[in-house]
Amino acid sequence: MSDFLAMGGYAEYVWSTFGLTAVVLVINMVGARRRLRNSLREAGLRAARQRRQAS
Amino acid sequence: MVTVVSAILRRDLELGFRRWGDVASPLMFFAIVTALFPLALSPAREVLQGLGPGVLWIAALLAMLLSLNALFRQDLEDGSMEQLVVGPHPLPLIMLAKALAHWLLSGLPLVLLAPLLAVTYHLPAEGVRALCVTLLLGTPTLSLLGSVGAALTAGVRQSGGLLALLILPLCLPVLMFGSRATALAAEGEVVTGPLYLLGALLALAVTLVPATSSAAIRISLD
């Protein structure tokens, strides 16, 4: 296991790139979901407001 | 066709001379920026000769960016661009005339001032000649590309930095070929290659930009 982690001496480079990739992927996944949540919430507020105005 | 271009050129040039301050400031900026490097780095001949072409070209590019910002802003505020858009004349032709007028007021003066500044960098004669030729070929392309950026950001509030961010990546090929050709010429090498490429970029810009900046200005006027 430890030589796997050593990556033939390139450990810091390989793991840093894979780590950074994971971080960027997570940032994008969370970001996209939150962007959608915000729009859904705003649309919900607007719908509620219009329903109040209509009634 | 010709009357439209000449009418716009005549008006914009007259405006340029009336507000000569707007024409002079990019020139002074060009001179000051080129003077910064010897003061900041070193007045040594070899250093300056090595830096010369790049610094002069970068300063010229930045100087043109200064004047591009206001290119359409004033026309939008006083409604004169609106009249041109609503008028019978083809908008791409009008935008080409505007870009030409901008070049005459900002690009050409830079080309005339460049030899003077090149001397302060101890550039040899071939280098100075190459600098002028590359600027003569490159600055119109910068005006054209810049007119697209200016048209896109004309309606937007404070857009100084934005215009530079939009335009500079597009101007990189001109900068690279221009400064490279000047440096190579200064070392006595043949530079026909980059000059042809600069000419090709100019031809491409003259054909593609007018239609693009027309679409852009219509969007800003919407």
């Binding site: 390139y10 329903r51 | 896109l152 800003s220």
Partner: protein
């Protein structure tokens, strides 16, 4: 030019919104699975490269993000063209949604490329044609995103950014080849450029798996962001109110 009806149907926001809601998990799940498979393949199964040793494994994250950075700009340019020509707000929504994703992966390609450069050339940053083009592409993305942010009217922002994306897509090849020309003049061909080492079969399949995984992840992220953009643009439309009637599902 008469368009196929499915194109118009796809172009109608409510139809697209429902489709996107349905499809998002179908992209996410396989994407994550392929990602794990590709990573395992690349890190464990693939043999070390005879020249770069295990350092070459960085290509399994660098190459897919570099591919994505250009592919996403292509998606933005096509969407912008469709948006301008057929005046489809949905197409503009796709371009608006794709930009931040493209910018992120361009940044990722840039940094992973630089890190990969360290063991190869000894320095983190090397003005290699590929990395330089990637850097300029990042500036173009940032320019696009800041132009979009500068407009407060959404329709104007869409159309202006569409023009910018088309101007960009015309300039990208020009910039790329002038960078190659520029670097060949400066460095000369002596310095070994950052090209992928010769890949044999069992090194190759993880890379293809990773590229497919990245594409699917991009699709999933894009669908979510486009749904958000569509909701923002269609705020006055009837169908948005109907959807809001139902409990909000933000999967």
């Amino acid at each position: 030019m008469k368009l196929p009806t499915w194109f118009h149907k796809l172009g109608s926001p409510p139809h697209f919104y429902r489709l996107a809601t349905l499809l998002t998990p179908w992209f996410y799940v396989p994407a994550v699975l392929l990602l794990l498979a590709g990573t395992y393949g690349g890190l464990v199964l693939a043999p070390a490269d005879y020249q770069q040793g295990d350092g070459f494994r960085i290509i399994y994250v660098h190459v897919p993000s570099a591919y994505l950075s250009t592919m996403v700009y292509g998606v933005m340019a096509v969407a912008s063209a469709i948006g301008l020509i057929w005046r489809m707000k949905l197409a503009h929504s796709v371009a608006a949604a794709a930009a931040p994703i493209g910018a992120w992966f361009t940044f990722l390609a840039l940094v992973t490329g630089a890190i990969w450069g360290k063991p190869m050339w000894g320095t983190y940053w090397e003005w290699d044609p590929r990395l330089t083009s990637e850097l300029i592409l990042l500036f173009i993305y940032l320019g696009y995103i800041s132009l979009r942010g500068a407009f407060d009217d959404r329709d104007k922002a869409d159309r202006a950014c569409a023009v910018l994306a088309l101007v960009g897509v015309v300039n990208l090849p020009i910039i790329h080849y002038s960078v190659i020309w520029w670097s060949s003049i400066h460095q000369g061909p002596t310095i070994k450029k950052l090209d992928a080492p010769s890949i044999t079969g069992d090194m190759l399949w993880p890379l293809l798996v990773m590229i497919l995984a990245y594409t699917l992840i991009f699709a999933a992220l894009l669908l979510q962001r486009v749904r958000a953009e569509v909701l923002d643009r269609e705020r006055n439309a009837r169908w948005v109110l109907d959807i809001m009637g139902a409990p909000a599902q933000g999967n």
